[in-house]
Symmetry: C2
């Protein structure tokens, strides 16, 4: 479609400026101080759809609003639902950002800002893919529905019930999500599996106030010492996790899948070099890609206790707490694991300590069939948009809501990641390659054409 | 001496106002932002001595200044050297203070402020005890030298060489220090033993940036997981410390001493109740007082890693660090223990992690003879000042410099604590009982008279 291609090429600058506008809104969903900013981001996204005369709604929830929009129905053709999110992770630690997280800056062909790749930039490729059709052709070849939420980074607690209550509105054949990575620069990928997650917080309270470690040391249980001891029971040197029953429901990897992973051009030396580490580490008996994509993990995400300032303070802290999370694979259940973990921690919590255990968001892992017509359509679209055929991969990240689409709407799912592994997702200096942004828009526009070839 | 007593009674209000002045100066020695405040506190203390026409100097060091002053010599009588410090611990966590840490506030007969008891209030009892003699009698019955430093809370690094280089100036028979506690309210004590300290900081660095725990979990060693595992090797559930050779030089407690401790009216139930804990915890085979006063300990003083804000952040942190310290007893050597600890940590530091180990201040433990004429003099002075005879105790806290006085000046040492165990030393809402402040001044004034009875 020449008009389409021309429009996308000619509007490159407009697409980037528009993305920068959205990135300037600090829509940090986990931080209540940013509630208004999150609402502003929702309205900004809704405005893009209204410009295309799509049926558009900003739907309030108990938390942050959901943006929904749809193009006109096209009988006999598949219906696609684009899912994305306009909320972002907190930018901390701020001092490690080269330029401020909410002042998008172009550097070395990348746009640097919190949310650049996760997920504002990737999500907008589909908005602009649809924009290209509407502005150059005047219509879309299939009906595309857009469901853009503001709580992905905190577990999509309000989107799950919304899907349950709006099955007709959201009815679709295939869900399209761009919130993951290519396999490597120049090597696009289709992701057919995601990990789930179970996120926890453990707070230990010892004495009712911070104490002088000299006057009281040796007579009072130190919650920081106790925290290290308790956390240390959860995972061992072999990378094996000791939450009771943790591996019971883990679906083993097939020999074919392990072969496919082994055939991918993964350079472990380059991987270590990029991360500045002298060795990889993880569950014994599996390769690095297998651990990252298809095996469950446990990582401490944060530790805090006592004095953390300059110099030395001889305090016996009153409290110590940790945030930690497990990445899950099919068919592990986050709530079953949370329950087993709570029981384990309560059993080993020592005298002299009061324990507070909190389950944050959780979601199961997910894998889709790799032989569907949708995978074929996406593969062809990506080959045209990126100039290279995609490989099939899995991802260690979690998109909590994906399981709901499959279970409640019976949708197939296409995970088309335009990002790169070194995009600093969830880290300082998050970036998105602007050439990939443009290629993603072209691939998205082409995807609607490829899906239109499928007769229902 | 009626004049002396009258002067002390009549000036009660002036003493309190004067203490408040000093407490308003935030002389936090560990925090470089407070360098000027520390200097201001030194000058304030020097001014008190100049008012008494004592030979007074404010001596600059590589760190914070030392204040030295002395009253005229009295031949044939002992020379006493009062040691104290005008620096204080950091006030954090600020949100737990009922009133601001550097706005001294009277509450329930106490003065509440950072430094109230440790050591500004206790140190000033000796300044005002001397003031009482100078203003009412016109002279002191013995020569009293004052050595008031500004680096006690950070290990007195510059005072040790100063003592070494000024043995003649500082020459004395007995060092008097009030920087500890009474045994209980209404039960004053003389402290004949102190613990030493060895303070450490361990920083573990994994990947060169914070990573997405989904995309990288299972392939990269997590420094927070590693920190818990490494710290957990240092002390076990029995309260036994596993730094190689840690107990080699520990002088066992004598049967007599254990009997004396057992006879003290220590109420463990009340102790637990005051701290809000359901059980005490420490080294197996020893009582709570024995652990607090005469057995070595290991406590984590601070932990920091990853995301510590509100809600959940799925980060695999680049760094994790801990501040921790051992309290030592005679004859453990902090540097020997630091060396053994470093070797142990280097041995167990896992692949994928770079370790940075730092030794902060260290000092040995200390015990003095309990049958000296100085203990007798102090006991009589305290009985008159407090209206109750003191008991002999040890303390878990450390006054790093005490060992130097004994070793380099051959001084005997009197540790006369006017504080209480629940003074919140090093904690929010630090306090000093104003009646004890007044009793301490009376006891100090009387001490010079009692020491004058000793002919040299």
């Amino acid at each position: 479609m020449p008009d389409l291609k021309t429009f996308i090429d000619e509007n490159r600058g407009n697409f980037v400026e528009s993305l920068k506008e959205l990135l300037r809104i600090p829509s940090v969903s986990t931080d209540s101080r940013h509630k208004e900013d999150v609402k502003t981001a929702a309205d900004w996204v809704a405005a893009r759809f209204k410009e295309l005369n799509f049926e558009t709604k900003v739907i309030p929830t108990k938390g942050h609003p959901i943006v929904y929009a749809e193009s006109p129905p096209v009988p006999g053709k598949p219906v696609a639902l684009v899912y994305g999110h306009y909320d972002v992770q907190p930018p901390e630690p701020l001092d490690l950002w080269v330029t401020p997280p909410f002042e998008p800056t172009e550097r070395d062909g990348n746009l640097v800002a919190r949310g650049a790749t996760d997920d504002k930039g990737q999500m907008l490729t589909h908005v602009f893919g649809a924009t290209a059709w509407m502005k150059s052709v005047g219509e879309l070849p299939i009906q595309v529905k857009f469901l853009i939420e503001g709580e992905e980074e905190i577990g999509s607690a309000n989107l799950a019930p919304f899907i349950e209550e709006n099955k007709e509105l959201l009815a679709n054949d295939v869900v399209v999500i761009s919130d993951s990575s290519q396999f490597a620069p120049g090597q696009p990928a289709i992701t057919y599996g995601l990990k789930g997650i179970a996120y926890f917080e453990l707070k230990l309270v010892g004495p009712n106030r911070d104490l002088h470690s000299g006057s009281f040391g040796g007579s009072v249980r130190n919650p920081a010492n106790a925290l290290c001891a308790m956390l240390n029971t959860l995972i061992d040197e072999h990378g094996w996790i000791h939450i009771p029953g943790f591996y019971d429901d883990v679906k083993p990897m097939s020999g074919d899948e392990r072969e496919n992973f082994a055939e991918l051009p993964f350079n472990e030396e380059k991987f270590k070099e990029q991360l500045g580490i002298d060795d990889v580490h993880g569950e014994e008996g599996y390769t690095t890609l297998e651990r990252r994509w298809a095996r469950p993990t446990l990582d401490i995400n944060g530790l805090t206790s006592g004095y953390q300032g300059e110099g030395a303070k001889t305090v016996l802290p009153s409290e110590a707490s940790a945030k930690f999370s497990c990445r899950l694979v099919p068919d592990q259940c986050p709530h079953k694991i949370g329950k087993a973990l709570r029981e384990h921690l309560e059993k080993i919590c020592p005298t002299g300590i009061k324990m507070e255990f909190k389950e944050h968001h959780g979601s199961p892992g997910f894998v889709v069939a790799t032989d569907s017509p949708y995978i074929k359509a996406a593969s062809d679209a990506i080959e045209q948009g990126f100039g290279a055929a995609p490989v099939l991969i899995r991802e260690g990240g979690s998109i909590p809501i994906v399981a709901n689409f499959a279970q409640q709407l019976g949708s197939d799912v296409l995970l088309l990641g335009w990002g790169l592994d070194d995009d600093n997702t969830h880290s300082p200096n998050e970036k998105f390659n602007l050439a990939d942004f443009q290629r993603g828009i072209a691939a998205s526009a082409q995807l609607w054409a490829e899906l239109a070839k499928i007769d229902m």
